[in-house]
């Protein structure tokens, strides 16, 4: 029996910026991202009675966002050419390559971020989302596994491989 008075905690609004940010990465379009976030909150409000107070509201909202995206949006039509992780796995190791260090320094006008964004966009979604959830949103491996509905080991493996791919792609970008 649903509790008709269950409401989302007030904290829910504080996650709007982070949800919209991921929505932009997923949808690749500002209007679609807005719809996606609004739909996420609508679903969360409707399912508020399922949320356990004291548990991780932020991760729960991100899980709804991602599920909503995959059930309602045809992401593939805008997915650009992505890197095949299997191919990159076979490439020689570039440990110690200078390009990542160079990017760390970054030119004074901040343009290094553009190459990095392009590199992130070439990652398969499953890899890109792991990186964004881990590095930008600081979710733990367990939280990411819950958000993406996959085993923790898979998340760890994807994150490690994504780092290698990014390093490879940054090296490949023209300076």
């Amino acid at each position: 029996m649903e509790n008709p008075r269950t409401r989302l905690p007030e904290e829910a609004l504080s996650h709007l910026d982070a949800l919209y940010n991921l929505a932009r990465w997923l949808a690749r379009d500002s209007v679609e991202a807005e719809d996606l976030v609004q739909e996420t909150y609508l679903r969360a409000v409707r399912a508020a009675h399922q949320f356990q107070p004291g548990t991780n509201l932020r991760a729960w909202l991100f899980r709804i966002l991602r599920n909503t995206f995959f059930t309602q949006y045809k992401r593939k039509r805008r997915e650009p050419e992505v890197v095949d992780p299997e191919i990159l796995d076979g490439m020689p190791d570039t440990s110690g390559a200078v390009s990542v260090d160079d990017r760390m320094a970054g030119p004074p006008d901040g343009t290094a971020g553009l190459d990095l964004v392009a590199a992130l966009n070439r990652l398969p979604e499953e890899y890109r989302s792991v990186v964004l959830l881990s590095d930008l949103e600081d979710f733990s491996m367990g939280e990411i596994a819950a958000i993406m509905d996959c085993p923790v080991g898979t998340v760890k493996s994807r994150l490690f491989r994504a780092r290698g791919i990014l390093k490879q792609l940054l090296r490949d970008y023209p300076h």
Partner: protein, 280 residues
């Protein structure tokens, strides 16, 4: 432990999120494996690079207003369903119903559209102004923190006494003593910026894993710290929130408002807070 197993733990090792036993085993492997040692370094550097250089998309004010309204009005799942359906029909089916209503009177629809646009702009401005001072302070502090990381990520740590002297010469309030760093965390730099209209002393620290923490010190006058959202850390209870994925702590000490923004996780942030709080 072999490489394939160790590589899965490198991110958690860098973020201090491994159980002590596992961390020890991974560290032992990394110590004798050059490939994993290089991968550990790459892990930290790519992470810092992403945090510093990947831009965040700003939430449109109209979306914020819609979500705020949705959350404020939600009282029951039944109403939510009804409202959700209504909202979806507004956004996906368009205004066909309204068009039918006003068919033959296009000037009326145009006038309404103009009025709605004006209302939207006014309410967006009102929402910005209505955002509470602590939220505005938090947003600004996190933005400064991210900028500061970019400025300092390739700099060696400065001499703490030189940093203090430089900052002291630029503000008209006393802030010392300040945490000068220790074996785990280095004070990299200090500077003065305006935050919430006040000249603020800023100090940025970096740990061995490449995590950055920025300490902001400013006169406390006019800053009200909310009673809710306090995080117990030993005997202290600073105000805590997450802003743009960063940990943020705010407290008052002597005549100062102290604000700490960090890329660390909550446990790491608590440890950093204790160092800063006790040093003062």
């Amino acid at each position: 432990m072999d490489c394939s197993e160790a590589c899965k733990h490198l991110s958690d090792l860098n973020r201090g999120r491994l159980e002590a036993d596992t961390a020890e085993v991974v560290r032992a492997h990394v110590a004798q494996c050059p490939t994993c040692a290089a991968a550990l370094q790459t892990e930290a550097r790519v992470r810092v690079l992403i945090q510093a250089q990947v831009p965040r998309h700003s939430t449109p004010s109209a979306l914020r207003a819609r979500v705020q309204a949705l959350l404020a009005e939600s009282t029951s799942p039944e109403e939510s369903v009804a409202r959700g359906a209504a909202a979806r029909s507004r956004r996906t089916a368009g205004l066909s119903g309204w068009r039918d209503l006003f068919r033959g009177h296009p000037w009326t629809l145009g006038s309404l559209a103009c009025a709605a646009a004006v209302l939207l702009v006014v309410s967006a401005g009102w929402l910005w102004l209505a955002k509470d001072p602590v939220s505005r302070l938090a947003d600004r502090a996190v933005a400064e923190h991210l900028e500061y990381i970019k400025d300092t990520m390739t700099r060696p740590a400065a001499e703490p006494s030189a940093v203090m002297g430089e900052v002291k010469s630029q503000v008209d309030f006393a802030f010392e003593p300040v945490f000068p760093g220790d074996a785990q965390v280095q004070l990299v730099s200090g500077k003065v910026e305006k935050l919430g209209g006040k000249r603020t002393a800023m100090f940025i620290y970096r740990d061995a894993s490449g995590h950055y923490t920025t300490l902001f010190l400013m006169p406390e006058a006019g800053i009200v710290i909310p009673d809710e959202g306090r995080l117990p850390i030993e005997t202290f209870k600073p105000y805590h929130r997450m802003t743009k994925g960063r940990q943020l702590l705010l407290w008052k000490q002597r005549n100062l408002a102290c604000l700490l923004v960090s890329d660390l996780d909550q446990a790491g942030m608590a440890s950093m807070f204790l160092k800063v709080r006790k040093a003062a």
